[in-house]
Assembly symmetry: C2
Homo-oligomer: 244 residues x 2
DNA sequence: TGAAAAAGTAATGTCAGACATTTAAAGTTT
DNA sequence: AAACTTTAAATGTCTGACATTACTTTTTCA
């Protein structure tokens, strides 16, 4: 570990950056124990409170975990796909909601990424993925379903499609894109008729994936994207008409 | 803000989760000032030190920023694409290096995602994107280039390709995938001959993008993926042969 | 009158020391 | 040998103080 970095920032931020670099560079390996808070305080010549603030920063990024007790301490954490996904979803969601990203842009990105999974998913999907897709399609047909529940089912359907590719890196990357879209999708009210159109496309996509027909699955996603964009334009135009 | 959450965790984690929920849900909006540390301490009935640890957690996720001085305090931060990307790259890099993700899996994910951008990039790229791609290709031809520099140039080339799609959400999502691959790519030694093959494919891809030929660009990426996988297999097999 | 200088003030940043709590290991008893 | 007790080392939390920063207000003086 070097002991100097980015002056003019908080001490706790500097210390966190220092330790983070040690982890990213591999100088500290997974499950290795960091020195105790008291030792770190001595080493960096700061108080224990400042060290603790630095460690909390790292914990917030899942870079370390802490354990109490005699043999406890801070340990380099093995980042799990689950934890990374959760963080990515939070970040992506806020990014979209805070930066005036248009529905069009987000939707385009989402479907472009999903189309990247379609050929792989058609090749490798197993019966479990197919079952989830079929079950969600069935759920989407329930008439008393709220718009939020419909969107949640939609997310589950697409998650199954993505997971079918059998590539955890791809699933991780896509989780952010798909889930972050949900708040935007929730802004849309789905009429019975628009739901039917979406469900029909979902059936076509599920059929293509089951038949291991990658191009057909991609085409289905393209059609679904067009349908979604049209629907969104209609909803937003209507809303604008009412308020303006 | 509600005032209860996940018992059996640190107080600072609970408080951070509480405030994070308020931000994600929109109860706290961008640039809004949080209560002062002293007020938060009163509200959550903890000490100021505990509140500070919670705030540092949020700061580590770029959810808030703090300002000193009389009118200072903690403010809800507008997450920028830049900050989000930086975090995503850190997380993705560690995820790959800590979880024994095979080169094959990571490479497949990367090229699948890039192919998602190809049609859009072919449609929308401007002269700047083309120029960057051409410049990087030229740089990759320099004979005295180190493997690391070659990989860095490769990343720049692919970033230009991705940015050409003109979709910031897509660029953000791809940044993690492309940059996180770099440490893995750096493990590969590039012979003059393998470099020539890669450069030839880069030329083909740049040509396709310039000619606005999406399918050709996708095909080029597929060929590049195959070439990279072959190259990696050869390098790893050779290395195994030497040590075992 | 007006601009510069000084004082005031409220916030975060840092420190020191204490105590509470948890946990594993060492020691003791039965 | 098993069960209980003690010990020790670590994190978690609290209190109170002081340092630093930066905006606001007041004062000074040309």
């Amino acid at each position: 570990m070097k002991t100097s970095l980015v002056p003019s920032a908080d001490l706790s931020a500097q210390i966190a950056a220092n330790i983070r670099d040690a982890i990213v560079s591999g100088a500290l390996i997974v499950d290795e124990r960091l020195p105790s808070e008291a030792e770190l305080a001595l080493k960096f010549d700061v108080s224990r409170a400042t060290v603790r603030e630095a460690l909390k920063r790292l914990a917030a990024q899942s870079l370390i975990r802490t354990q109490r007790g005699a043999t406890g301490g801070a340990f380099v954490n093995r980042i799990s796909f689950e934890a990374a996904q959760a963080q990515q979803i939070t970040t992506s969601t806020l990014l979209l909601s805070m930066n005036d990203v248009s529905f069009e842009t987000a939707c385009e990105a989402r479907y472009a990424l999903e189309r990247a999974c379609a050929p792989l998913s058609a090749m490798r999907r197993n019966s479990n993925h197919i079952n989830v897709m079929r079950d969600e399609i069935k759920a989407q047909g329930e008439v008393e379903l709220s718009d939020e529940a419909f969107c949640a089912s939609d997310v589950a359907f697409h998650r199954a499609l993505v997971d079918g590719a059998g590539n955890p890196v791809l699933s991780y990357q896509l989780a952010g894109a798909v889930e972050a879209m949900q708040p935007l999708m929730n802004m849309i009210t789905f009429t019975a008729r628009s739901r039917d159109a979406i469900i029909a496309l979902h059936v076509a996509i599920a059929d293509a994936i089951e038949a291991q027909d990658g191009p057909a699955a991609s085409a289905g996603l393209t059609a679904l994207e067009a349908e979604t964009q049209t629907l969104a334009r209609r909803v937003f135009a209507q809303r604008k008409g009412h308020t303006g």
